[in-house]
């Protein structure tokens, strides 16, 4: 066991920190959920690329730095500490679609797509969930029929962030309706400009509309859009996470850490409702703040440990579900404590949860943590069945 970073790693951290401090955009990311956001996000990605910071762990052949897991971890940590812009429209390409292509795509697919992603030329989105397939993702029913050298897609996806400003989509479709549910799915690169696609933005409680519904009406894609083998899409989708080995999680931890410190600072200065002392002088609030801080510290430590564990094995284990489960619980607790301490000020909607920090909007945003990307109920099932070996229901 060892908490030290090597000289090389420390020097890399120093470079990242300095560059981000000097080069992160001075303009905040637009809140408009439209092309303005797309332009901002892509321009920032281009800047990262031009300065050699795109694709820290991606192969050099496609424009990445091809550094190891620890460098990736350092990048995420420093990125979050610098409060550099939320990845926004680049998120799926950089953290999800791109890594999947690296793991499973053909040379041709990789050569075509990966540099575009790193250079900030395209926006990717995800097409996994469907109205009838949320927690039970594998029950998806959007169908793709092979017609010569084409796939003809009909169906509907939901909760697709940034679909309305995206160029490509990592899309799960059912290519064999007769196979068992995990065996008839394919992972497809969908051209979002193809005819037959319509998009509807969904309004959310954080007063945004980055989530979309996507409708496919006989959308034709070349058969060569399939990544991995036809009907093997479930395994392709599951291979995504193994790439970053949990380092991406560190960014969220840093945000939590920054926010609890911010809230403690607010509590040290803000008078409690009786006007006689600060919230931090109130024993109840102080202990809530500090015990939450202790839990966040432990989550940080567990994330380090998960990364260490993942570095020793090919694929990350189900323990990652513990981190996600606890993360969303702690984030909700923190956001709730935030609006408690804001008191009457919290009546105003204020800020945006993507900026992190303490706000009513951040509290509303925190509700999504235990739903998106696999509900907490599903995470608990995974932990109990796959980490602890308890029997299925």
């Amino acid at each position: 066991m060892d908490l030290e970073f090597t000289l090389e790693e420390r020097s890399f951290r120093e470079q990242v920190r300095t560059w981000l401090e000097e080069n992160k955009p001075s303009e905040p990311r637009p809140k408009s959920d439209d092309l303005e956001q797309r332009n901002y996000d892509l321009a920032w990605q281009r800047t990262l690329y031009d300065n050699g910071w795109a694709g820290i762990a991606w192969p050099k052949a496609y424009g990445g730095r091809e550094l190891g897991t620890i460098a990736q971890l350092i990048w995420f940590e420093e990125y979050a500490k610098a409060k550099a812009p939320y990845l926004g429209a680049n998120f799926v390409g950089i953290n999800h679609g791109g890594p999947t292509l690296i793991a499973r795509a053909t040379e041709e697919q990789k050569t075509f797509h990966l540099p575009k992603i790193l250079k900030g030329e395209v926006v990717w989105c995800q097409g996994f969930s469907e109205p009838g397939s949320g927690s039970d993702l594998a029950s998806l029913s959007t169908k793709a029929v092979v017609d010569g050298d084409q796939l003809v897609i009909t169906g509907q996806k939901i909760w697709t962030s940034f679909a309305h400003i995206a160029d490509y989509q990592e899309l799960l479709v059912r290519t064999d309706p007769d196979a068992p549910k995990h065996k008839g799915i394919s992972w497809v690169i969908c051209d979002m400009h193809a005819p037959g696609i319509t998009i509807r933005q969904i309004p959310t409680i954080i007063r945004g509309a980055e989530f979309c519904e996507v409708f496919y009406d006989e959308v034709r894609l070349p058969l060569s859009s399939v990544v991995g083998n036809l009907n093997d899409g479930w395994s392709v989708a599951m291979s995504t996470l193994s790439f970053e080995r949990g380092t991406g999680f560190m960014a969220a931890i840093i945000e939590l850490t920054t926010t609890i410190e911010e809230l403690i600072d607010i509590a040290r200065h803000k008078k409690s409702p009786d006007g006689k002392r600060t919230y931090f002088q109130d024993d109840e609030y102080r202990r809530k703040l500090l015990s939450l801080k202790a839990e966040i510290m432990a989550l940080r430590s567990a994330t380090y440990r998960a990364i260490s564990r993942n570095m020793r094995q090919d694929a990350p284990g189900p323990e990652g579900s513990i981190l996600k489960l606890v993360m969303s619980d702690l984030n909700q607790k923190l956001a709730r404590l935030g609006v408690d301490i804001l008191g009457i000020e919290a009546l105003a909607f204020g800020g945006s949860h993507r900026d992190g920090g303490v706000s009513t909007a951040a509290w509303l945003g925190s509700f999504s943590g235990s739903i998106a990307g696999g509900t907490s109920e599903i995470q608990r099932n995974i932990v109990s069945e796959r980490v602890l070996g308890m029997p299925r229901g």
Binding site: S129, G132, S133, G134, S135, D136, S139, I158, W159, I202, P203, T204, I205, R207, A209, F211, K271, S272, P273, D274, G275, D282, E284, Q332, V339, D340, G343, I344, A346, L347, A348, F349, G350, T360, L364, F367, S368, S370, I371, A372, T375, S376, E377, R380
Partner: protein
């Protein structure tokens, strides 16, 4: 001893609920992220006043219907259940303050709907006073002629004509919320809260709103869980959701029971009346808050949208738990 509603009380519940369902159906706001319409349409407000909603618990001598606090609590539970907008709570409380002060003319204007009253919560003091200075949080600021402030020892009505209200971009866009700095604003009326159990009434009616929200947000969640299917069966058949639901029901049962126990204790002038009222508020707030949180979780992604209604209860509760007295002060006084 009988803690169940009488047939007459059931009738009040039914009448109010039917009116609300017809006139104020609970809907998501969709892409409307700011308030564009009035908090309550004038004719609707008038109609509610004509139904006697502001004077239900006022004595007949004071021009009211003459029911008790339990009946008022039933009305406000239904208003909470239906997420009714409009200055009902502040109107009722102001009418009681005016009646206590013997100002029958003002009572008449309030209960007839002729004047409207905002609800004022002081920020850095816990007492209303004859000449008030300080920061104030206001709800139902729209067209408000007066503001009513109910605090543990004193209750007051202030005229709003010379007060500059700064609108707040309320998290619940269906309510008109604002802030104001009172600078030596003179009370039109200042009365002892104890005399007519004004503080207890405020706590109990606010609790009634919360209880109504807790019940309704549970109901829609349970209904959703019966129809939404995953893994080939209704999600309501999974024990995780049953656990949430069982505790939602428990919170409703306890909060509603305490609400009415407190209402009766206040009417019967039990020595413990204030403590009972505070306990009613505490339990009701917890029920509305936690049930709302579970409702979003049960609705999954849909609960995160403004097209479904769970967020309406969550955001309304966010306002309701911040009126009259904040949480720690409620607990400290139990």
């Amino acid at each position: 001893m009988d803690m169940m509603q009488s047939p007459e009380q059931d009738e009040i519940e039914r009448t109010v609920a039917a009116f609300l369902t017809e006139k104020f159906p609970v809907r998501g706001h969709g892409h409307s992220f700011k308030r564009t319409e009035p908090e309550i349409a004038d004719e609707l407000w008038q109609e509610c006043c004509n139904l006697g909603w502001l004077s239900l618990g006022l004595s007949e001598e004071a021009g009211g219907v003459g029911y008790g606090l339990a009946e008022e609590a039933i009305l406000f539970r239904e208003l909470g259940r239906g997420l009714a907008p409009g200055p009902f709570l502040s109107g009722v409380l102001a009418a009681h303050v005016a009646a206590t002060a013997g100002d029958h003319e003002l009572v008449a204007k309030i209960i007839s709907g002729e004047v409207r009253v905002a609800l004022a919560t002081p920020l850095n003091t816990d007492e209303a006073s004859a000449s008030f200075s300080g920061d104030i949080s206001l709800v139902h600021t729209e067209r408000a002629d007066y503001a009513v402030m109910i605090t543990p020892n004193k209750s007051a009505i202030y005229a709003m004509e010379n007060v500059a209200v700064e609108p707040v971009d309320s998290v619940d866009i269906s309510l008109a919320v604002g802030r104001a700095k009172f600078d030596n604003v003179h009370a039109l009326h200042l009365v002892d809260s104890g005399a007519s159990s004004l503080y207890e009434r405020a706590l109990i009616l606010a609790a009634a709103i919360s209880v109504g929200m807790a019940i309704e947000v549970m109901r829609i969640s349970v209904e959703y869980s019966k129809t939404r299917e995953q893994f080939g069966k209704p999600i309501g058949s999974f024990q995780a959701l049953k656990t949430y639901a069982a505790y939602m029901a428990s919170r409703c049962e306890l909060a509603e029971s305490q609400l009415f126990f407190a209402a009766l204790a206040v009417e019967a002038r039990f020595e413990s009346a204030r403590s009972e009222a505070l306990a009613a508020r505490f339990n009701a707030n917890e029920a509305a808050r936690i049930n709302g949180e579970h409702a979003i979780q049960i609705h999954g992604g849909y609960g995160y949208t403004t097209e479904y209604t769970p967020y309406r209860f969550v955001t309304r509760n966010h306002v309701i738990e911040r009126i009259i007295t904040l949480r720690s002060a409620v607990i400290d006084a139990i």
